[in-house]
């Protein structure tokens, strides 16, 4: 018993580092009132340490704390993505002028981010429904506060309240679903649930429980029809938090969904090929319909947006739809496509949010119409923005194309032709709103009075850090694929 706990603590080092950072930020904030960015630096250091601790866990596949969480290559991959996105978000936050009026409280902001990171770490690695719920809540509650962090802005406060209300309802539905599953199978451990499932026949109650769990997690991913909070919250939140929600939290929730479905609801038949359990419930069809609806609504709504944050919010919803295609397939191929997509999506979406933030800092506008002529005033940032958006569209030779190719490929190979067709049509629709930004930047002349705008070197360095993977991975992605292949193994599969 004690031995197991000690062993588990040894596996829990990355999370412990985050907890330590959480405490350290509070203490240092009390000690050094004036050094305002200190929280950011502490968290940055903690994340880098955390990255090293994660690297030390390479290849481990084991469970900890009585199968509450697992440490496996699959979780490690997503933790790595979370760390990378966390590092970028902190770098962005240090430059975000929206946060400047709240300098005296800025350590709270970083503290909450570290809490959210911890929650997401647990989301990707938990294998017990109760633990999943706790992780889910930890992420949610931190993000409720973060969304409303710029509290003097009415929109921010409003979106925070909206988020809390919708979030609590969906958490309630999730826990209700969990309790039904517990009632049906007598266990909260997803491995045991999986074992119980394979012996079970489908019942309406069971379908309902499943639907409730999908609703709860779907809320976090922002898939249609559980997405209605997302545009308002994304628009109202500080842009760095929007990026965090649209990238990290979306990826973490999808990971949780994959692990839950993969372990509890799939199995192998006698010949060793992949089957769904219990028979009779077409949850893949349910997810496919949700994915299709998400792609359609996300893309069509993004067409009409003028606010860049809102447009990127809808575009994130649309991308959640593409990623869901891989979840629908659920075979190794589908999941590796999801992982590849998540990897590429991280850089291109963070990049797009970053340039949007820079523009909002410099030009104090979030309106796409106000971007006219910016391509001539700040060529490098505008070209980078174009590359990120082109990558989000999925045009070669960018990372986004490879990501889309793999997701589409997995779906084609699994026979989901109608779903791929919808995704194809929606990709064409998406071209229209992504290219609109590039059009405004380059196809119009700036005003005579407006001079060139320069960004400092640190900004350009961050931009290059984001730009390089988007371009390089579009042409050479062997290492990423190999990384994913090594990371596909889930504990207990």
């Amino acid at each position: 018993m004690t031995e197991h706990i000690l062993e588990s603590i040894g596996l829990f080092i990355p999370e412990i580092i985050l907890v330590a950072a959480f405490c350290a930020i509070i203490i240092f904030d009390l000690l050094l009132k004036k050094r305002t960015q200190v929280g950011g630096w502490i968290l940055l250091a903690a994340l880098l340490l955390c990255g090293i601790a994660l690297a030390a866990q390479w290849g481990i596949s084991s469970s900890a704390f009585f199968e509450m969480i697992v440490i496996d290559p699959f979780a490690l991959f997503f933790k790595f993505l979370l760390v990378v996105s966390g590092v970028f978000i902190i770098l962005f936050s240090m430059q975000n002028e929206e946060l400047m009026p709240y300098k005296s409280r800025i350590s709270e902001y970083y503290m909450l981010i570290s809490g959210m990171m911890l929650g997401m770490f647990l989301m990707v690695s938990s294998t017990n429904l109760l633990m999943m719920y706790l992780a889910f809540e930890m992420t949610s509650i931190s993000s409720y506060v973060l969304v409303g962090f710029t509290k003097k802005s009415i929109r921010s406060a409003e979106s925070s309240v909206k988020y809390i209300i919708f979030g609590s309802v969906s958490s309630g539905i999730l826990i209700y679903g969990i309790s039904l599953i517990y009632g049906l199978t007598g266990s909260l451990n997803i491995f045991e649930i999986g074992a119980a499932m394979s012996a079970m026949e489908s019942t309406p109650v069971f379908s309902m429980a499943l639907l409730m769990v999908v609703t709860g997690i779907g809320f976090k991913i922002a898939i249609v029809p559980f997405h209605f909070w997302a545009p308002d919250v994304y628009e109202g939140a500080p842009i760095t938090i929007t990026a965090l929600l649209a990238v990290a939290s979306e990826i973490a929730a999808i990971t949780m969904l994959i692990r839950f479905f993969r372990i509890s609801f799939t199995g192998e038949d006698a010949s060793g090929s992949f089957i769904m359990i219990p028979e009779g419930i077409r949850w893949d069809m349910l997810l496919a319909i949700l994915a299709a609806a998400t792609m359609i609504l996300g893309n069509l709504s993004a067409l009409w947006q003028d606010n860049i944050k809102r447009m990127l919010a809808y575009s994130s919803i649309a991308h959640a739809g593409y990623i869901m295609m891989g979840v629908v397939v659920m075979t190794d191929q589908g999941i590796s496509a999801v992982m590849l997509y998540a990897f590429m999506y991280l850089f291109m979406n963070l990049g797009a949010f970053y340039v949007a933030m820079l523009f909002s800092n410099k030009f104090h506008t979030e309106s796409i119409e106000a971007y006219k002529g910016l391509g001539y005033r700040t060529p490098f940032a505008a070209i980078a923005f174009t590359v990120f958006l082109v990558s989000l569209t999925g045009l070669p030779p960018t990372a986004g194309f490879i990501a889309k190719l793999y997701i589409f490929g997995a779906a084609v190979n699994a026979g989901w032709i109608w779903l791929v067709l919808i995704a194809g049509v929606m990709t064409i629709v998406s071209l229209f709103y992504y290219i609109r930004v590039a059009r405004n930047m380059f196809l119009y002349k700036p005003d005579e009075s407006a001079g060139p705008v320069r960004f400092d070197n640190a900004t350009l360095a961050v931009l290059v850090l984001l730009l390089a993977p988007v371009l390089v991975l579009g042409l050479y992605f062997t290492p990423v694929l190999e990384f994913i292949q090594h990371s596909l193994a889930m504990y207990g599969m």
Binding site: P396, F401, G424, I428, R439, F442, L481, E482
Partner: protein
């Protein structure tokens, strides 16, 4: 057959020279306009020299099409390799270039038109650096499509062209450039997505045993996709004459038809042409449209011979409609550029009619027509560019009596226009004749109806000649300068080719005859 410079194959050189040029141009400070122009011209000039070397060393007797031995100057390197795992199999994508009789003429055309376009781009004065950087990228994209023998590579180059083209039309174009640019982008992107889906379906349907281990490896290799033996039993596109194969053929066809552009997918072309700056119109009509018919011949025909045979009459009918419809539309235009745009639709219809005949005459006629039309429309668009630069006008009714003022210009324009009309002795005649001969053999009535297109063509060309070059000179056109030396440099090689290939077309026909006869055989005599 291998040719290398500095240890790098000639095809890689000709393909990536423009990218090197783009980087060079980006390094030159934006104010040094002249240096940028000279760099661009020098790079495209080098490409022409390389193309000449290829022409000199190309073996006319090798078939190509579906076997790697048939290709020349082949370069094949593993590009993306991921070792096998049980659930995915090995992933392999090749950097695989090669040319055969089908592509060699297109390489020549791209290099030549690329140079001519670069020289005529000297008139561009706005954002010169950005312009030439995008221009270079565009050339690489086009060259890559003609060289690639791996579907993945082909697709990447196919899509790489879109963005430069969008900005080239969108930034440097005419008053409605924004609309024209996005229309072009959307149309071709629709096709691109369709092609991507077919590419994926083919990828998962085709698997080649590894020569050493014997494990099955999925592949993007176009040549393997042409071999029915490599299709995995029970996969989506396995078998012959299945519904899925027809669907895949149709999806590919729509993609290529948008690019050609074939009726009813042609509506983007007149807009794009009218708004694009002159050199971009030249590239667009001279090379870009040929990618469509080239794609049909390189991908649709040999990979889906069953679909091709099934839909051949459908293709021929669309070709016929394009010929007649394009010609009638041209007759109705009074904008010079729009007229040439519609005449392009009509002439590309002849290409489709020729290749849809699926016999050697038709095929040779079609491919030769691709080359000839590239040369002829380049002359025609440059010709419009000359008067547009001088007067800012393009309306056919704005001109008159130019023959008196600009004799050199008129002489060259006459050659171009008569070649477009199909006058014997000029190159257009040869290829049109072959195309119609082939078509007549295959579908008599379609060919007979199509030939009427020529009469309409004669109508609009002669009418244009009369309105622009003859008659009274309007007041505002009294002191126009004749061609400058730079303009003459653009025109002269093209005019020489028009006359040379009109009188003596054998050098061009010899290049492709073997490959195209073999392609006909591949399509019409099934391997199964």
């Amino acid at each position: 057959m291998e040719l290398q410079f500095l240890g790098i194959g000639i095809l890689t050189w000709i393909l990536f020279l423009p990218v090197a040029g783009m980087i060079l141009i980006l390094l030159i400070p934006g104010e040094r306009i002249q240096a940028i122009r000279i760099t661009a011209t020098a790079i495209t000039g080098l490409q022409v020299i390389l193309a000449a070397v290829i022409f000199r060393h190309f073996d006319r007797g090798i078939e190509g099409i579906n076997s790697i031995e048939g290709f020349q100057f082949v370069e094949q390197f593993s590009w993306i390799t991921v070792e096998a795992v049980p659930w995915f199999g090995r992933i392999e994508i090749f950097y695989f270039l090669g040319i055969d009789g089908l592509s060699v003429l297109m390489i020549m055309l791209t290099a030549l038109i690329g140079l001519i376009g670069a020289i005529s781009s000297w008139t561009i004065t706005k954002q010169v650096k950005g312009y030439f950087a995008l221009y270079m990228l565009l050339i690489t994209g086009m060259m890559g499509v003609f060289l690639a023998l791996d579907f993945f590579l082909f697709f990447i180059f196919w899509e790489v062209m879109l963005l430069p083209m969008y900005f080239l039309i969108g930034i440097w174009g005419g008053p409605r450039r924004e609309y024209a640019a996005i229309k072009f982008f959307l149309y071709t992107f629709v096709g691109g997505i369709l092609m991507m889906l077919v590419m994926l379906a083919l990828y998962f349907s085709v698997a080649v045993p590894d020569p050493v281990t014997g494990e099955l490896v999925h592949t993007f290799n176009l040549l393997h996709m042409m071999n029915p033996a490599y299709y995995v039993e029970g996969s989506l596109l396995a078998g012959v004459d299945t519904t899925w194969r027809y669907v895949a053929w149709m999806a590919l066809f729509i993609n290529f038809a948008i690019k050609i552009p074939l009726f009813p997918f042609h509506t983007w072309l007149p807009d794009a042409h009218v708004e694009a700056p002159t050199p971009i119109s030249v590239i667009l009509a001279g090379v870009l449209l040929k990618l469509g018919t080239y794609g049909l011949l390189r991908i649709s025909f040999p990979i889906f011979p069953d679909g091709t045979m099934y839909f051949m009459i459908f293709m021929a009918v669309l070709g016929m409609i394009s010929i007649i419809y394009g010609a009638f539309c041209a007759l109705a235009q009074d904008d010079f550029k729009k007229l040439i745009a519609y005449s392009s639709i009509s002439h590309m219809g002849i290409v489709v009619l020729g290749i849809a005949a699926l016999n050697t005459q038709g095929m040779v006629g079609g491919v030769l027509q691709m080359f000839n039309h590239g040369i002829i429309t380049a002359v025609l668009f440059l010709m419009v560019g000359v008067v547009y630069d001088r007067t800012g006008k393009r309306g056919l009714n704005d001109f008159g009596g130019l023959a008196n003022q600009m004799p050199k210009y008129t002489g060259i324009a006459m050659v171009g226009m008569f070649a477009a009309l199909g006058l014997p002795g000029l190159n257009g005649f040869v290829s049109e004749l072959f195309s119609f001969l082939g078509a007549f053999e295959a579908y008599r009535w379609i060919a007979i109806v199509s030939v009427f297109g020529i009469i309409i063509t004669a109508g609009y060309i002669l009418w244009t000649l009369q309105r622009v070059f003859l008659g009274k000179t309007p007041e505002h056109l009294t002191n126009l300068k004749d061609l400058t030396t730079r303009e003459l440099v653009c025109f002269i090689p093209l005019v020489i080719l028009i006359i040379l290939l009109g009188v003596y077309p054998s050098p061009a026909i010899e290049l492709m005859n073997t490959s195209l006869s073999y392609l006909v055989q591949v399509v019409t005599v099934p391997a199964y």
